[in-house]
């Protein structure tokens, strides 16, 4: 057991090193992400000029939602894991994992955790720097249940994020080019995951449907708990249950795709 854990600890450390090489890139990306917050600030403050409450929330609550969403993206979001997995399959680099006692999912997950540790810490820099400017627009509710349900929800969101990226990467066993699928899914995620606007602003019937889709649990769900857009603890618990089901389903799908994909794999290159 310890030897197994040690394998992935080393993988994590190697992932940490390789991600630290690109720390400038991540820092620049984090810096430019704050430009997105400026867009959000300008657009939504102009929208709120005509109406003090939108969907029952004031400007500060909506702005806090977008800030929390941005931080969550850097802490748990899958950046280009799907593309990396696809490259490893297409280039034959996965062949080495077929000959060694290394679980490919655990290997990739260790690297994902290392990468998010680096990006998660780097996003704190522009956040702290901009705090004097945006601090007055940040309002976070402080009920203890939000932490109790929000943290496991954030963990499950990370599993779903990585799981979906892993499944898309697996598609490379069948398709030469997966980027089209990935970006189509990103567009779906951006709408149904609440990245473009808070999901609760959608028409009621669409919001209800979205609660049964995995995209809702990728980012919106934990962020809504932490930022006070979801205020009913029992509804949050039900959501956590649905989220756990999606996490298990996506992990299961990833395992099936891996097994089926390997049957087609001809181990060229490497």
């Amino acid at each position: 057991m310890l030897a197994t854990l040690n394998k992935y600890r080393v993988t994590f450390l190697v992932g940490l090193q390789s991600n630290l090489i690109y720390r400038v890139n991540f820092a620049v990306r984090g810096f430019f992400s704050f430009f997105h917050l400026i867009v959000v600030f300008i657009l939504w403050s102009a929208a709120y000029a005509g109406s003090p409450l939108i969907g029952g929330f004031n400007f500060a609550q909506t702005f806090t939602y977008f800030v929390a969403l941005l931080v969550a993206q850097f802490v748990i979001g899958a950046f280009n894991e799907d593309y990396q997995i696809s490259e490893e399959i297409r280039g034959g680099l996965i062949n080495q994992f077929l000959l060694k006692p290394v679980n490919y999912f655990a290997y990739r997950f260790s690297i994902y955790v290392a990468a998010r540790l680096v990006t998660g810490l780097l996003i704190l820099v522009p956040l702290i720097v901009s705090l004097p400017l945006i601090g007055e627009y940040l309002v976070l509710p402080s009920e203890p249940w939000r932490l109790g349900i929000g943290l496991p929800a954030l963990f499950l969101s990370a599993i779903i994020q990585f799981g979906i990226a892993y499944c898309f990467g697996m598609l490379s066993f069948w398709f030469l080019e997966i980027q089209g699928f990935v970006i189509l899914s990103m567009a779906l995620e951006s709408v149904l995951g609440g990245q473009i606007f808070p999901l609760d602003l959608m028409p009621e019937w669409l919001f209800r449907i979205s609660q049964f889709l995995p995209y809702y649990y990728q980012m919106y769900f934990p962020v809504a708990i932490f930022t006070g857009r979801l205020n009913d603890p029992s509804a949050a618990l039900v959501g956590l249950g649905i989220q756990a089901c999606w996490a298990v389903a996506i992990l299961g799908l990833g395992a099936v795709l891996w097994r089926r994909g390997l049957r087609l794999h001809t181990a060229v290159g490497g």
């Binding site: 890139n25 620049v28 657009l43 567009a187 602003l201």
Partner: protein, 262 residues
């Protein structure tokens, strides 16, 4: 000049032949672009469900603005994105040697080699959004306004092209621009906002210093309020300025290029 036109046409023909070979890919990417455009329009729709105006712009005025911004971006994606995106990776891998060894202008061959027919097809959808919004607003622009609009969209494409080159050119200095190239998209988000929404420092930065707001607002205003010669002249001037800056930075970077690997 005709030599470069022939070069471009040959590349374009090759890209279209390639598209015919991978028809499935073409449909998937066309769908992707269409979906992203829908996302932008959906955002406008959701916001206007809860408010009547944003910075004094009504729903269809905003749709006209977003449609114009999408039109400029589709042209950029269609004519330049793939080539410029690959340029960053080619500089890192050393494949950029291919372009350096070509007879002719390196910046031209490196940034115009590929076209994306899927984006160009979707520019028709963006144009459809502009026309639909104009009809909903009861606009009846004359030839001067339509030609002025086309000229300003062309200026917008050149400004976006220059900004994209400036986002990728750091690859000559820092080797990998992975993650940085996305910063262009962050900047392009500003072009979907009405100019009136910018105040104070944001107005100085995004309206005057970085022309991301004016590139879409100026053509949209031409359709909404008529052709303004002074505004058009100013847009042409900053287009020349940004293009000049992109050419300068690219060639400074090119001097640093030393290939890679063996």
């Amino acid at each position: 000049m005709s030599h470069y036109a022939r070069l471009w046409l040959t590349s374009a023909r090759y890209c279209i032949m390639r598209m015919m070979m991978f028809r499935g890919d073409f449909f998937v990417w066309a769908l992707v672009e269409l979906f992203w455009m829908t996302v932008n329009l959906l955002m406008v729709s959701v916001i206007y469900q809860h408010t009547d105006t944003v910075a004094g712009w009504t729903k269809y005025e905003m749709m006209l603005l977003v449609g114009t911004s999408l039109l400029i971006q589709r042209f950029l994606m269609g004519f330049f994105w793939s080539s410029i995106f690959e340029m960053g990776r080619n500089i890192r891998s050393g494949h950029f040697d291919f372009f350096v060894a070509q007879p002719g202008n390196v910046m031209f061959t490196a940034t115009t080699r590929k076209i994306d027919p899927d984006s160009l097809i979707n520019s028709l959808v963006a144009l459809g959004v502009v026309i639909y919004s104009a009809r909903q607003l009861g606009l009846q622009p004359g030839w001067v306004e339509v030609l002025g609009y086309a000229l300003m969209v062309a200026c917008g494409v050149i400004i976006h092209y220059s900004m994209l080159v400036l986002c990728i050119a750091p690859a000559f200095w820092i080797t990998s621009v992975q993650g940085i190239e996305g910063s262009y998209f962050t900047l392009s988000e500003f072009s979907r906002l009405p100019r009136a929404a910018f105040v104070g420092l944001a107005k100085v930065a995004f309206v005057w210093v970085l022309p991301v707001v004016v590139v879409s607002n100026t053509p949209a205003s031409t359709l909404l309020h008529g052709f303004d010669l002074q505004l058009a002249g100013w847009l042409v001037a900053i287009t020349a300025l940004w293009f000049g800056l992109a050419v300068f930075v690219f060639h400074r970077g090119l001097k640093r290029y030393s290939s890679a690997s063996s």
